[in-house]
Symmetry: C2
Subunit: 204 residues, 2 copies
Amino acid sequence: MRISELSRRSGIPTPTIKYYLREGLLPPGRATAATQAEYDEGHLRRLRLVRALIGVRGLSVSATRDVLGAVAARAGELHQVLGLVLGARPVGDEAAPEDPPEGEVEALIGELGWNVSEHAPARAVLGETLETLRSLGAELDHASLLGYAELAERTAVLDLDQLDPRADPLEQAERALLLTVLLEPALLALRRLAQENESARRNT
Amino acid sequence: MRISELSRRSGIPTPTIKYYLREGLLPPGRATAATQAEYDEGHLRRLRLVRALIGVRGLSVSATRDVLGAVAARAGELHQVLGLVLGARPVGDEAAPEDPPEGEVEALIGELGWNVSEHAPARAVLGETLETLRSLGAELDHASLLGYAELAERTAVLDLDQLDPRADPLEQAERALLLTVLLEPALLALRRLAQENESARRNT
DNA sequence: CTAATATAGATAGTGCCACTATCCAGTATC
DNA sequence: GATACTGGATAGTGGCACTATCTATATTAG
């Protein structure tokens, strides 16, 4: 399939596809001549994945590239991928160079007995968010934090249940990415609906 | 307090504060003369809140304005605020005009017996996300969705426990906003850590 | 075989957004 | 009264995600 068909089947304008090719979000097609290349179903799938990450979850192009790169590089080690895949700060941010020990996060992970990589970006995200809340006077007490962590644990069990460990590793990793990232808005939406319901329940 | 002190105490440059004033994220100060106005602690608090919404959660300036407006307008009806506060699409998006009935979401809400407003934007967000997942071939079965919803329910209980129903309604609403919105990255980070842990556990 | 169409790759331009800089006339303060 | 600061207005900046155009080639319809 040539680029115009890729565009037609994905609904994405040709110039945008070229842009994604330049940015490395989409691997180049198999060149058949100086001005001709051939794309396959994999490209189409990848293109849809890219659009979902950018459009639904609001990742930036460069964050998307990083995430996809991480998945490709570590397709074999699914748990690394799951943990690492999203340094993706909501906004630029570029990870403050200062690296406070963030004892609270370490302690929590230790207390729960979680086995997670030292470098998981989620550690830093968690630490920063707790710090921000504290600085705004809305500190979370330890018991609540533990409660949230336990719910996260059960969410993760549900998440992992969606995966079929017998599938091809790369496909598996892409599916994990899809479920990890794209489910995020859905889980947050569920939380907001549940909050509204719970708030209504308490105020009657 | 004049604008320079507001800037010094918040760490935000004066021109940016002026920009927020223009954009309506911060109410104007009490004018004492043609070129003089007085700001108070409330302005400082609001400014920090704005920064947190924009910086930590990545809301756009206009989304932030909408959210703050909604909170101010409905400080009395906390549960409405909690549910409504975040139509905030991750990225522009502007809510597709097509409005499919989204029967799945309605059914879920009915099944759970949740009492939420007809117009809660979270309904649409949820519907769209499920639709996207389906179109990418990563559909969620009903049982899993129910599982996630039940976990959301328990998260909401924890959330509401953080609020003190005796506090001033506006302050209460702002705190709710803080906890709803700023906790989001933390909850997602917890989920990713838990995923990595669970994945490691299953693969040993 | 030719004319119309399509293509890869390169370069430049666009529109939006979140600031940031500058200017001005009017205080405030020393 | 000189200097610094202020509110308000207007204009400029840099980054980002595209989008448009151009050129040299390739394919294809007639």
